[in-house]
Amino acid sequence: MSVVYFIFQQTMFFMIPLLVVALGGMFSERSGVINIALEGIMTMGAFTGILFLNLTGGNMSGQGQLLIAVIISMITGAVFAMFHAYASINMKADQTISGTALNLFAPAFAIFVARVIQGVQQIQFANTFRIEKVPVLGDIPIIGDLLFKNTYITTYLGFVILAIAALVLYKTKFGLRLRACGEHPQAADAAGINVYRMQYAGVILSGALGGLGGLVFVVPTSTNFNATVSGYGFLALAVLIFGQWKPVKILWASLFFGLMKAIAAAYSGIPFLEGLGIPSYLYKMIPYLATLVVLIFTSRNSQAPKASGIPYDKGAR
């Protein structure tokens, strides 16, 4: 049984950043702006968050420090995403190109600044945030072992964000307007919605969540930050598409990706899985194969926002 708990706990480390970043991407795309800069935004968010952890390492520790780092990462991501918003909304630039520019810029910037500040590009941090066991809740059989042991506060934050995202998107005026801008901005404009403002909101939200995702990604998996998030921003895009731009489906998609990733990485330490003799390549391939298959079957009635990727032009007919 402990193996199941272990796999589940490991899955969380993969899943939560994917979930949070994919939800970020969802806000942006549902407002009509493709955001492939998620990778770069994650890098920037992780960079400032980890830098904060590094600089305050001697004086602070524990959950308070992590929460401040979370806020810093979100602000960084939001500010960084504004470049993308400005280029693609105000300047009507090609959104793919502007996103790529941010992706190229982010790691270079992180390395440069880290070098200037401390001479070395790796930023060390002390991980004092792991929660061994949540009081009371951790004692519940099965569920306690699954969800409330060996975890991070950011895991719960991820689920809270999911709930809020679903509520905002479907149950608020803001969410309705945002979705309208992604489907038919001219109609939304005619109904009196400020399309530019909604798209800015979408991109900034995606930046904040992307930045958070970067921090969540790095904290449990390393002892330093080396200006990379190993392609997880792009993976989050795949999760977003696999999840058909819908919050709950994104949850399942990220769980699926996370589980497969965890099994592919951890199978060698689990006697049962190793006994099956399935090569690890297969586990590594499954999420991507599944994405391809899903795309094949859903491409005809894809749920992608209709106006995603097209710069909004007020005068277009």
């Binding site: 480390f13 060390q124 449990p220 390393s222 990485a265 690890s280």
Partner: protein, 386 residues
């Protein structure tokens, strides 16, 4: 109006950046043609700097050009710099380090030139990134001496390897520190080990092979059986995959993992902190990076640099050849002062090092096959994870 100014500025920046691209783009092509004239001008500048240094009667005789990081990177630069400082202080020689603008061959060559203009008679180049720069400068400045750490000079496309008579190339026999680490871990009472390498490049494979054979030797001596998990992550990066794999090994009972591949070690440390398990560091003493590091399979950079400089001043400089640092010349080892062993003592360590020195211990360091399938082991069982 504002927009106009902004767009003008942007356009200006773009033109400038294009110009920058243009100049670097044409350089390599022009290089070949100007190589001869460059050599001549180099000689000329050489003469002028000589007279200049005669006039001022100073300059810095010993120079170190830093690799990617800075002088206090706790890695190659710092280790080499310690060797330089140690000799210079003892012998009363002037010394200085130079930091290149960027990590390109051109920039390295330029910085080495700068060091030589500054009066350097011997330039220390730490790290394999200097292989091509040293290949170029050893011909450009025949009267200057170079020490290249952890590499052998070769040209850009690896078609020609040449170590000129004014150059000393230093390589380390990685299988030996790996052997020591594996031996010490088993002697210390651990029977379930792990090896997580970066890419399967020769240096990493040698570390791994040494590690496995060391563990095997100790297990045979003690009459126990040892299980070793063995994996190359395929990159030198910290990833959740590496962390998850290490965590799963620890979960399955692995007591210590040799994290051998740059940032891969950091993922292993993260997993170890979680599982309250142990890690073996690599290349330099990594005990400062995490409390989980019980020892490190080290290359003694400062010793090798010190020896190289000393040989130069003693007139016995081994130029034109590659010197391999091993246990024999105290070029590798474990940092026993910072190691956290419970049963493995300094005396045990000295005994095993003596065995490596006198050749009674033979390590298979043939890296043609990287899967450890070609090793003959008596008490250790290796599970190779693809």
């Amino acid at each position: 109006m504002k927009k106009k100014v902004l767009s003008m500025l942007l356009a200006g920046v773009m033109v400038l950046s294009l110009a920058a691209c243009g100049s670097t783009g044409t350089e390599p092509a022009a290089e070949a043609e100007t190589a001869e004239s460059e050599a001549e001008t180099a000689e000329v500048t050489e003469e002028t700097t000589e007279t200049a240094s005669e006039e001022s009667a100073s300059g810095y005789e010993l120079a170190l050009v830093t690799d990617l990081g800075t002088i206090d990177d706790k890695s190659f630069n710092q280790g080499a710099w310690e060797g330089v400082t140690q000799y210079a202080e003892e012998a009363g020689v002037t010394y200085k380090y130079y930091q290149p603008q960027e990590a390109t061959t051109d920039s390295y060559v330029e910085t080495i030139g700068l060091a030589i203009e500054g009066g350097a008679k011997l330039v220390v180049c730490p790290g394999y990134l200097f292989e091509t720069p040293v290949y170029i400068v050893q011909e450009q400045y025949p009267e200057v001496t170079f020490i290249l750490l952890d590499g052998e000079p070769h040209n850009e496309d690896y078609s020609d390897y040449k170590t000129a008579s004014n150059t000393m190339a230093i390589l380390f026999q990685e299988d030996q520190p790996g052997y020591l680490a594996g031996y010490a871990a088993v002697k210390d009472g651990m029977t379930k080990l792990g090896f997580m390498g970066g890419m399967a490049v020769p240096a990493v494979v040698r570390y791994g092979y040494g590690f496995v054979q060391g563990a095997d030797a100790a297990a045979t001596e003690m009459g126990v059986n040892v299980d070793i998990m063995y994996h190359y992550t395929g990159a030198f990066a910290a990833t959740p995959e590496a962390q998850a794999m290490a965590a799963s090994w620890y979960q399955n009972g692995t007591e210590v993992i040799f994290g051998c591949g740059g940032a891969v070690g950091n993922s292993v440390m993260a997993a170890a902190e979680e599982a309250k398990a142990k890690v073996i560091g690599v290349d330099v003493d990594q005990s400062y990076e995490s409390d989980t590091v019980i020892t490190s399979a080290m290359k003694k950079l400062s010793v090798s640099v010190y020896d190289g400089i000393k040989a130069f001043y003693d007139g016995s400089f081994p130029g034109g050849s590659t010197t391999i640092f091993s246990a024999e010349n105290d070029g590798i080892g474990l940092p026993m002062d910072t190691s956290k062993f419970t049963n493995f003592t300094q005396a045990d360590y000295d005994a095993i090092v003596a065995g490596l020195v006198d050749g009674s211990i033979k390590i298979n360091n043939d890296v043609a096959d990287t899967t450890t399938a070609d090793l003959t082991l008596s008490s250790a069982k290796v599970t190779f994870v693809e």
